[in-house]
Subunit: 137 residues, 2 copies
DNA sequence: TTACTAATTTGTAACGGTTACAAATTAATA
DNA sequence: TATTAATTTGTAACCGTTACAAATTAGTAA
């Protein structure tokens, strides 16, 4: 059981109620949500919550390395709790994003063609397991 | 020398002046431009050009497989002429996108964890060769 | 407690990339 | 030519995001 209040303090972020709840949500639900999805999910629990707070908090967490921002979709940013490196699969039909546990050591290469690599993102796209079954039926 | 008029016909797209020029630009300049960059670049040559036409045309070309849409940046879509598979490196400092000639046969795998893979995008991020030199100086 | 100050949150307006849509223009057909 | 279809254009709207000032809350010192 993670103490989110402590985790925030460790990253130098004063643990307000909003920040704790947002972090908690990203940790518990591995659905790669957008800022709006986080907002919608927490509205009931924190009725006064502002969407701006969600945006600001997600940005802060990402800068501090607690979260990772994903650019799989064209128009919107998705967030996830920063865990072990893995790659993503996005379904063209249902839009879901799946975690694929596959690592590419060769991309951790500090240098490639003279450029210094700090991050690498691998995004697969296609038809997911579930949608394949539906289509086949 | 490519005959863009013929190329469009082969893809079932009637070759208007606008469509030819937009395709020509994407083929000649491998800068992974946004829709707006294409628009700005062609304004002089086609003074009546509308930004909507650029957006529509890029979309059509992508659907027909002539172009590829990239989601490396958070907010905007980048386009490139569909050539041999390669990966991308985006510089955090200057924002340039570099082509890296490295292929991953293992990702061409039709199936991964039950999902059918149709596309794969590999995006590296860091500090590019040029910016490293400037920082070191 | 109270008064004061700093940090945080909130709500609204604005921004930027993109899309919807109808009017205008151009091309194709009879 | 007249008529029709395809294409382009311009404008307004959409949507995710950000800027910013006001409101609220938390922290501190009498
Ligand atoms: Mn993930
Ligand atoms: Mn490229
Ligand atoms: Zn699916
Ligand atoms: Zn650079």
């Amino acid at each position: 059981m993670i103490n989110f209040k402590e985790l925030l303090k460790e990253h130098g972020i004063p643990p307000s109620l909003q920040r704790i709840k947002i972090l908690e949500y990203l940790h518990n639900f591995k659905t790669h949500p957008t800022a709006d999805m986080v907002y919608q999910a927490l509205m009931d629990e924190i009725p006064t919550l502002s969407k701006t707070t969600v945006y600001n908090t997600l940005k802060t967490f990402t800068e501090k390395g607690i979260l990772v921002a994903l650019s799989i979709f064209e128009n919107e940013v998705r967030y996830e709790y920063n865990t072990e490196p893995h790659i993503h699969f996005k379904c063209f039909k249902c839009g879901r994003i799946y975690d694929i546990s596959k690592t590419f050591e060769c991309l951790k290469n500090e240098e490639i063609e003279g450029h210094k690599v700090l991050e690498h993102h691998i995004n697969l796209k296609g038809i997911c397991k579930n949608c394949l079954v539906k289509a086949g039926a």
